[in-house]
Amino acid sequence: MGSTSQKHHHILPTKTALTIGALLLVLTAITVWIAHIDLGPFNFVIATAVATLKASLVALYFMNLKYESSENRMIFITSFLFLAIFIVLTATDLFFRQEVSVHGTFIAEGSSQSKLKKPWVSTPELVAHGKEIYAIQCVACHGLEGKGNGPAAAALNPAPRNFEAVDGWKNGRKPTMVFKTLKEGLPPSSMASYATLPADDRWALTHYVLSLHPQVEVDSPADFARVGIDPNQESVQEKEDPKISIELAMSQLAHAESGMERGAHLYHSRFEQVQEGPFIGKYLYQKHCLECHGDHGKGGIKVSVLGVYPVAFVATHPLNQQSPSMNSQEVFNQAVIRGIPGNLMPGYGNLSSSELKGLYQYLKAENE
């Protein structure tokens, strides 16, 4: 048993060590300094380059890679080679994948050009129309009377706005501001964007919401300018692409798919033969809607409001005469095609009008 000393070994001279240490500190100062100058994408390039220079100094001198056997050097450097492959291949996905967007299918009408004249001027008809949409889209959170106390409100933080109060509004109570809230939502809260509703409907909602408190705030020309509206013109022209974001499309697809799978299972076990004619409504209901609206549209199923933390639930109402959307095929179609944003109910823009009719008639007949 011998004990030869480790004599072939390179020992880092103290002076070199101190020089490298000082160099590293100087380079640190340089990166911090350069980061304060705005050079656009070059900030990132420079920061990574300096970091790589520093890392090389540490590896070459402190880790002694400069005097290391070529075998060990190769081993270590190879790991960075593999890392580079990993980074480059992943980056190609980022740079070359085409914009994924779903056109149309989930949204019935792509453009939201207003059909009404000057919808930003409140009229009793608009308020009434807003009330109808409100009863479908907003009650779950904001409550029947707009007090911010709907069934889902208890679990929401921040709580839904109380429309009977003047305080605590984030965007504000002027019509253009409420309109902006409805277009953009109030991220990161559960107040979602309702940009999928036509602009006219959003104005109607705005006027209804504001009618809940007697104190009126009037828009100045600057307020109109901020939302891109010329109040002297006749109608709003919202330039919107008829496409929805990747995330929304994916969540919609996931919803639709999971619903379809469950629906298909039910279909096969119970309604082996029926697929067409008068049964189409029943079949579609079983396929898409049963999981949330319960047997025969009796409601009472708890649906989780996704994207809210902690998790909140809304119990569905029975789809009977009392339900605001069960009084006309029109309103029903709007509710089903657009869904209810805030992740409550997916939109079913891919249903044909005869399918929608079938669904409506089925629900009507079941809940007579």
């Binding site: 048993m1 011998g2 004990s3 030869t4 000393s5 480790q6 004599k7 072939h8 070994h9 020992i11 880092l12 001279p13 103290t14 060590a17 101190l18 490298i20 240490g21 590293l24 500190l25 640190t28 990166t31 911090v32 980061a35 900030n43 990132f44 920061a47 990574t48 300096v50 970091a51 520093k54 890392a55 540490v58 590896a59 001198y61 402190f62 880790m63 056997s69 075998e71 060990n72 081993i75 270590f76 190879t78 790991s79 960075f80 593999f82 890392l83 990993f86 980074i87 992943t90 980056a91 996905d93 980022l94 740079f95 921040p158 991220p187 990161p188 933390y309």
Partner: protein
């Protein structure tokens, strides 16, 4: 008291010489470091991907990190790397007293690093700048900002765990140095711990600019 002394280390019987043993051990360490590069690499790729997808969000969120704290920690860690290197070379030359002194310095600097991190983390906790569903901050407008903080905590947290482990192994070789187990003829463990510690520094050298400076 500490004295300079000759150390007799017997290499294991399956090596032809002490040098052979040392080279094998060191190669093992390098291979271990390769796995570490790939482990942190995954996180860096995730960082790059999400930064590419949401540049504005990263820009907004990174402004909530304290640059001065990060810079201070960079200085602390680089200095600790220097003291570690000096400790290794002292051990190789057989200067036990200075080797011990540098190891203790390295340990103190590592404590400083974690101390600064503690203040940073508690500040983030207080502001609700937390990963995923725990994110409660309302100042940041970007709806996806929790993603940045998921990455921030994952990356600095994994690095912090490495610092903790580093402190453990440094304490271990400090004890062995005090017992006089190392000298010019045998210093394998101290050199390998040195390699590990420099690697921890190396990771931080990238983390600091990517998270704190260019977000």
């Amino acid at each position: 008291m500490l004295q300079e002394e000759t150390v007799i280390h017997h290499h294991a019987h399956h090596f032809t010489s002490a040098n052979h043993e040392f080279e094998a051990a060191k190669q093992g360490m390098w291979i271990f470091l390769v796995t570490e590069v790939l482990m942190f690499g995954g996180l860096f790729v995730a960082y790059g991907l999400f930064r590419g997808l949401y540049p504005e969000m990263f820009h907004e969120a990174h402004q909530h990190l304290a640059v001065h704290m990060g810079a201070l920690n960079t200085v602390v860690l680089i200095t600790s790397s220097l003291t570690m290197a000096l400790s290794v070379s002292s051990a190789q030359k057989g200067h036990k007293v200075s080797s011990v002194r540098y190891l203790v310095l390295t340990l103190i600097l590592a404590c400083c690093f974690l101390g600064v991190k503690y203040f940073e983390y508690s500040h983030k906790f207080h502001d609700g700048l937390l990963p995923g569903g725990f994110f409660t901050n309302t100042e940041i407008k970007s709806p996806k900002a929790s993603l940045f903080f998921s990455l921030y905590f994952m990356m600095t947290g994994l690095h912090g765990i490495h610092v903790l482990i580093g402190m453990g192994v440094i304490s271990w070789i400090l004890r062995r140095t005090l017992r006089g187990e190392f000298g010019p003829s045998y210093y394998t463990p101290i050199e390998l711990v040195g390699l590990y510690w420099h690697f921890v520094d190396l990771v931080w050298i990238y983390l600091f600019p990517l998270l704190y400076l260019v977000g």
